[in-house]
Amino acid sequence: MVDPSNGAVYAQVEGIGPGTTRSMPVDVGSGEYAFTCTGQDYGIRNGPVVQVPGKAGGGTAVLVLDQDQQNSITTRARAYVASGLAALVAQTAALVTDIRTGNLSAARVAWLTAHLTWERLGSAYGMFGSYDDAIDGLPFGVAGGVSAPGFTGFYRLEYGLWHGQSSAELSGPASQLGVQVRALQTAWPSIELPPTLAVGDLALRTHEILEDAMQNQLSGLDDFGSGTTLATFAAGIDATRAQLGILRPLLASRYPQTAALFSSLNQLQRLIDAEKTSHGWTSARDLSSPQRERLDAAAGQTVELLSPIPVIFEQERPIP
């Protein structure tokens, strides 16, 4: 259901099967409405314009992006990932060298630097396909757990570096990580989504990066020894901010809570920054109950405010 004057969308239902009925609740106020349908076997079909009289308030419609806007967002999103990948390749190479040369205390520092750069790329929803698992996979659900030969990537190295494993034990997994990261950089141009899909994907990740980071990092679940999950969470905030920065020119006119969202994100940032001290990052498991409550409140509020963004840009995902 759209506003016929500008095509802005009030509500939509995707994938209605032949002969089926679906409901589409809309808060209809005074104004003009029309239905528009897009089908696989036909183009866009528009229904008649219906006038609702009076001065009743109703739901608001969301403006659809034009081609230029899509292209501009896609270009910026690509540039962000490409520059992040370049940094990741260099930092991972340094990590591999430290491990090979037996400089494990330097390796522990290099590991965190590279891992945070990875997190800042904002990979979610399998943005990097099978590279996601190879580079940042977890040993959960695998026979053998942390000892399984299939357990590779950053978390494998974290486990080894913080559990007394030797340079010899870690050189293999380290080299593998270096290879995977370089391969990803090479493959990235072919993985990239076309502009019509890229905007919706970016919007999804704008919300989901922080959902992932809350579930796995703020909780401490993905701590394999370094106690740096709050640093990773902070990198997730950076990644979210980067996606938001790309979307921001289009956000204010489509999302009335934009200011509240940034205020909530700033509050979360202040709280998480306070957990980095001269001794390093607080381990998530050492958070006191009031600290955890404050972080949960700010993070919870932030993801609530992020959650409309994928819906607002949902029409940018064409019908499959």
Partner: protein, 458 residues
């Protein structure tokens, strides 16, 4: 666990005996004289009481009188809070507004969630925002309706647990404030209710800080568990930035087995004696903070002190105890609920006739909790208990027990006095209080612009 009833007794089945009824004692100025009534009449009186308290209004219907009368001679069962259920078993709405919070006087409903939150709001303005949001959500949830569609502007505004239209299902809410809310954070120290403190640990308690206290208590009660989970999800979703859940316990009230007062998980009818919620006089003497009470800040008028105690029951052990010992510990017959010196659940025990405890031991729970003397009448509390069952503990025992809640005008004079009498009662070997807290249930929501604690936050 406690039975803190009125000393006048709730003698529903026996003719009144002026000679043995303490209510006729002229010393008991606080207690209105009333004669015993048969079951139907006392049930109706309970219904009127709800209406008078602004809790149920006209929603209470005749159909329920039949079912409750057939089921029970009790003054109130948990099914009569919100009037008749619809064909799907959903209860009618309980009016949200009133001088007192609507969830306080009604009898226990079938399901409850008792919980406490820590306020994370940073200042008084944010606290007011939080309380306004909480009020707004509770207003919607208790009255029901169609959630505003989000359309293309966001994810669905409602979890959908109750279907496309939110049904009220008799939902009631009681919001309380803990003493910790009156620390320095919001500049409210001088406005703390006079008797509000952190929960006093008693000698047989084993209080876990993580399951005790909290800045705000919220108790949701309704006919079904899904109604409560829907309300819980809605409330937490809208208040994430302002408060965080500190502890939570889900509970239920059993149906009458086979009649009368619901049973707890020790198998005994629990909460037989209670003050008369239909009596405005009695409620104003025992439950509500009154205008002009010495030391009480003005904003507290119409509120009530709430004690929540989470009490584990060692049910495996209990089930290995002889019936004689069980009944002597409680002071009532397990099958009927009657005091051991009588034949009816609602009979008043005659302790004067049993001074040495030959029939009802001197340390029986009901005798210590409510000695039924003129001196102890002002100690009575309005008690609302729920059973809980949450699986098992880490060593393999069933984790079952009681969510004890009670309302009163003054915690020291009432709950703490009664609980002090119960110290070291024989029952302590079978139960362990481990959580809960003291809260002040704020005054009711008066109109569409009102919110929880508005008078506190001018």
């Amino acid at each position: 666990m406690s039975e803190h009833g009125r000393p006048t007794g709730d003698d529903r089945s026996l003719p009144s005996n002026p000679a043995s009824n303490p209510a006729s004692n002229p010393d008991v100025g606080d207690c209105p004289v009333r004669s015993a009534r048969p079951g139907r009449r006392t049930f109706l009186r309970g219904v009127v009481g709800l209406g008078a308290a602004g809790a149920a209004g006209t929603a209470v219907g005749i159909a329920d009188v039949h079912s409750a009368h057939a089921a029970s001679q009790s003054s109130a069962t948990q099914t009569d809070v919100a009037g008749p259920a619809d064909p799907q078993g959903r209860l009618a709405p309980v009016p949200f507004q009133g001088v007192h919070q609507a969830g306080i006087l009604p009898p226990s409903q079938r399901q409850t969630i008792a919980m406490a939150f820590d306020v994370v709001a940073g200042n008084r303005g944010e606290l007011a925002d939080l309380l306004q949001t909480l009020t707004q959500r509770c207003r919607f949830l208790t009255s029901g309706g169609i959630p505003t569609p989000a359309g293309a502007t966001g994810p669905p505004s409602d979890s959908g647990i109750l279907g496309p239209t939110v049904v009220p299902d008799g939902l009631t809410v009681v919001v309380g404030m803990g003493a910790s809310l009156f620390d320095g954070r919001f500049g409210l120290a001088s406005r703390r209710p006079a008797h509000l403190t952190a929960m006093t640990p008693f000698p047989n308690d084993n209080l876990d800080p993580a399951q005790s206290g909290g800045d705000l208590s919220v108790q949701l009660s309704a006919g079904s568990a899904d109604t409560l989970l829907h309300a819980l999800r809605d409330i937490t979703r809208h208040t994430r930035g302002g408060m965080q859940l500190r502890w939570r316990m889900d509970g239920f009230a059993s149906p009458p087995r086979p009649s009368g007062t619901p049973r707890n998980l020790l198998g005994f009818k629990d909460g037989i004696a209670n003050p008369d919620t239909a009596s405005a006089t009695e409620m104003s003497q025992l439950v509500w903070v009154r205008a002009g009470t010495s030391g009480e800040p003005g904003w507290t008028v119409g509120g009530s002190y709430l004690v929540i105690r989470l009490i584990r029951m060692f049910v495996e052990f209990w089930d290995r105890v002889s019936i004689t010992e069980q009944e002597n510990m409680i002071g009532r017959a397990r099958d009927t609920g009657a005091p051991l010196d009588a034949n009816s659940e609602f009979a008043t025990p005659d302790y004067a006739a049993d001074p040495d405890g030959a029939v009802i031991p001197l340390d029986a729970h009901i005798r210590l909790a409510n000695p039924r003397t003129s001196q102890t009448s002002a100690n009575q509390i309005l008690r609302r208990a729920y059973n809980y069952d949450r699986g098992m503990d880490v060593v393999g025992n069933l984790d079952q027990g009681l969510i004890f809640t009670c309302y009163q005008q003054n915690i020291k004079r009432q709950f703490e006095t009664v609980q002090t009498r119960l110290i070291d009662e024989p029952l302590v070997d079978y139960v362990s209080p481990f959580g809960g807290g003291y809260f002040f249930a704020v005054p009711g929501i008066l109109d569409s612009g009102d919110y929880y604690g508005r008078a506190l936050l001018p």
